[in-house]
Assembly symmetry: D2
Homo-oligomer: 348 residues x 4
């Protein structure tokens, strides 16, 4: 909009063209509200099939914070809290939405945005060993995001370890998939939708950052797990009157498995950028494999780049350096990527 | 969708064509998130101008229940409740969203969906006269909807009386305008947007039922009234990542005052239907002037009509009669209206 | 304290002398906190035996509003509300404590403070018949008080009907026994502690108004019914550090079944007062059988009585008459009762 | 009770004998409820005088967690959180009571249980510098305890620094004085009640651990600061029906400044124990000056001591050592202290 190259976030564009087409084509159709229409029914079925989980409850919500708040409320009882990496979205960037619902976020140390099963298990063990644990918030679920805030990935083996811990301690496993398409399109990733359905009490498939105008698909594999989910969604103000708008988007995203491929341009672009940065002498802050690139820059370079590129400030590295975040998305073009690379001065 | 004439509700279609056009045209544009983009800035300004209130805070939310929950939380302190007609949307049809935020809905008797200033004032007087009132929920605001759930209208004089009561008791006035366009397009209505801005602590201009895909525009005339509104919206999971989608819709709805006229087809159609019903020998349940028609039907007629028409069940009238609700909207065509009228058997 | 006869409420005195004795005797004893001491263990067992329910969870809380808030939170999930008479304590006089916990009080019409099983069943039937019920607060439990706010009593048959309704609809039955001792001491009452344990999901045995300094004994007959009750109590700020203070009180109240008899003086006094009022020409507002007397007085008499007697204002009857409430308690003496009767002018 | 020396906590006994005497003496007196009686009025005045703050609002609550939850709710708006040391009572040991009220505890690193003004200021600066801070919980108050959970003390200079930070950032300062008597009786302490009244938005004077059966006195120096505090207390289930029971206790605790001296025996005993431990060759974990003693023990010694002494487990030190906590209180006798010292084997 301002003529700069847009790599500041992965929600700056609208939706995948197929979604816009369907939206326009169906615009004056008249359907019943609140997700009871036929398009939404079809979208639910496509999501179930992609997850290889016919029985799953699938509900479409509007945004990530909302979804996390609703599902935390749905999976926890009143005196339970949720275990999260201290860098987790629910821990830092949701303005206290989880606490507004009455639940404490039990923040644990992370490694590149990831929780380790060992850390979580030690926390749970300590909790139950503490003679005063009944005076403390009961850990009731584990919150993971895949990819994490740092763009890193869990392996399916790690998820299995978390599942085992959950089973041992009688707690729930929930995965925030706000950027899930970028995991699924990533060669390093070995976690599939059916894996998530097999291992989680609930998870969501992100639309907002992955090709939709807005929308997240919640999947609850066991249909008995959460009674009254519909009413809870309504109570949270999260029920869209014209529910079909969500149905349309996920019906398109899951037509012919589009969602499994939609992140590919983002991953390719990110890989090119990471390679170019290294070749030009930049230092990556850490090596995340998905659509986010974290790079350490000398502060004197920031200004030059700022004129041509929208990027995200990540954190101060030291007095002379800053970590910036570049994000690609489903719609990032090769031209934009080339332009970005050209805009980065060679510093060798 | 099922071939029936669709008069069951006013949110069965998509959006006004101008909105869809703009949505498509801007789809691949890249803008910053969360309502900080230029389109949203423009939409805010158009709303302010239409309300004749340059200083107002204008925020765009997604749906009505969400907006009511956020604004109740914003306008009340912890031990205050909200006065509403017992038929108010917040009292009955929001799944306890207000209570989930910790606030009691103080339900008072209604007349055709309306609260009367006298009823409210008597309630407040009784409350403060009660020796135990400090053990009771403190009334902190009055919730009205315009039009009401029954499609009826407040006069500007009535709103002035409510304002006076609010000033006397130090409480807030809030108006839910989910169907506001249908009031504004109605000859019987004398309440303007500048009136609402002059009289309310906050109100919202409904988009979902009035030409938008979704979206409600909250107006807070006094910019000092609610600190931290943005963060509160985020906390409620009500902040749209791609905020411009709301900006686009209200920028179109308030371009050339479209919103002031957009309800006209609905009112014309509803008037035709009310007239036709009477001529054909049907009894109206009560005479609301906006886009909802409440008609008493013999049960034996229901089935015949059901085959051709989507309508809403309102309530049982007696053992042999039912009250049904027909709703028109901004997109109701003359053809559909004629077809509906023809589908209603003459019962004289 | 002011020399007046004290009939204004049933919580104006301290505790039964046996409680004070035990409190003094054990004062410098050192015991572990939070109800894990031996006295509390003994008190729990005595309550269980009195309820003929060996397996019951028994917890001691401090006051009635607190207990109702904790137990509503314990028995309901997030999107459920509690059915109560519109005159119920939770509905009117708890400053929104139930709503602060996120639950709507679903107020239904009462008859002399009582809910009828028919009213409740009709409400539940209507709820589930409503096509939009999933947009409404889910009724999750029935709140009764025994005696009610009006001093009236349920029969065990009525309680059985409520239980049946609860079983049919899968909801919980909870009884607030703030004044339970005055029911148990009342000849008209046929509800026993074992009946309550057999019929309720949870109930509480009131101490504050029935001989204790403070304290209410929660009984949950099925020990599996509420996991984490201890932590929930702590979370509500309802866990007394020196838990034995509650243990001592209930250990005394349930030693030799004192609690079953402790209300007798109150009932005898109330009966004498009701008889005397009638004989002197006063009109009772209604005929409650327990420790509260509701009497219609000409306003000109109020002032004269006010000089000698503490009484409670109940409500305006008409322009010339007022309904007052007189309350007796476990410590009301025959002398005070005689003095009160003598203080009431003969109006025949 | 079990014959062991009781140094496990500071709430194992009943109340100071003067309190018990008054309780017994006034037991059958009849007074109005909810703290409107004359004894409570007198107690409020004594607290105000001790704080040198005639205008202060003084309310008596029952316990610490309850008080912290009520006051956090009272001092914060909906989207604000409370800054606390990560070891703060509200952060760890209140079962999520603060979060149940909708507020996040913003935990910061501590040093021996204390927050440093520098840490807090840096946090606030970072918060406001963060471009996304409106997506994060707004820091709305600072929670300190004096003494801290580690028995350490703030200086009045440190409190002044916190006050300055609060003024700069427009946030509130709140001090939890659960063990305040042990600070006031401590030679190292330079913080007086008038200092607290001059520097805090609110604080509480602990009764439960400092000579009362139960009870905490909340002081709000500016009477305009918290409207509706009474109703908020009621809503939290924290209003005692027989309010005079709290009045009696604080009327005694503040008669002739008893509260200022009541902690002395505890401090003397703790000093003796610390000295004896050092002389016998034990290592103190850190040198807190109040009524708590933290000592590192070889595990093999634990068992021997356990047979004679109730102590508190604090934390594992290493594989062979454990940190234990010994607590003295207002009623600790010289005999008990001598017996404890004798029970500790010499390990030099």
């Amino acid at each position: 909009m301002n003529g700069k190259l847009s790599f500041g976030c992965d929600y700056s564009k609208g939706a995948h063209p197929l979604i816009m087409e369907r939206m326009v084509k169906t615009n004056l159709m008249e359907t019943p509200g609140y997700g009871s229409d036929e398009i939404t029914v079809s979208a639910r079925n496509r999501v179930r099939m992609a997850c290889n989980c016919e029985a799953a409850v699938v509900e479409f919500l509007i945004g990530g914070t909302q979804t996390n708040a609703v599902m935390t409320d749905a999976l926890l009882n009143n005196c339970q809290g949720v275990i999260s990496a201290e860098t987790g979205h629910i821990s830092v960037h949701e303005a206290g939405a989880i606490e507004a619902g009455g639940h404490k976020v039990l923040s644990l140390p992370h490694s590149l945005g990831k929780l380790s099963p060992g850390t979580v298990e030690a926390y749970l063990k300590d909790y139950y060993n503490d003679a005063n644990h009944e005076h403390m918030v009961i850990p009731g679920m584990i919150y993971l995001s895949h990819p994490t805030e740092y763009g890193t990935l869990y392996s399916v083996d790690e998820l299995r370890s978390f599942r085992e811990i959950c089973d041992n301690y009688g707690i729930s496993l929930y995965v925030d998939g706000a950027r899930l398409a970028y995991a699924l399109a990533c060669p390093e990733n070995d976690v599939t939708l059916p894996d998530l359905a097999a291992l989680c009490d609930a998870f969501y498939i992100g639309g907002t950052k992955c090709g939709a105008l807005f929308g997240e698909a919640v999947v609850v594999p066991d249909p008995e797990r959460i009674p009254h989910l519909f009413t809870l969604i309504k109570q949270h103000g999260a029920l869209l009157a014209k529910g079909r708008l969500l149905g349309i988007q996920f019906d398109e995203l899951f037509r012919d498995d589009l969602y499994l491929r939609i992140g590919e341009p983002a991953i390719k672009a990110a890989d090119r950028i990471r390679k170019a940065l290294t070749e030009k002498g930049y230092r990556l802050h850490f090596g995340s494999p998905t659509n986010q690139i974290f790079c350490i820059l000398e502060n004197r370079l920031l200004k030059a780049i700022e004129e041509k590129v929208e990027y995200g400030f990540w954190e101060k590295y030291d007095d002379n350096h800053t970590v910036i975040r570049l994000a690609t998305d489903w719609g990032t073009t090769e031209e934009d990527t080339t332009a970005l690379i050209n805009a980065l001065p060679d510093i060798l």
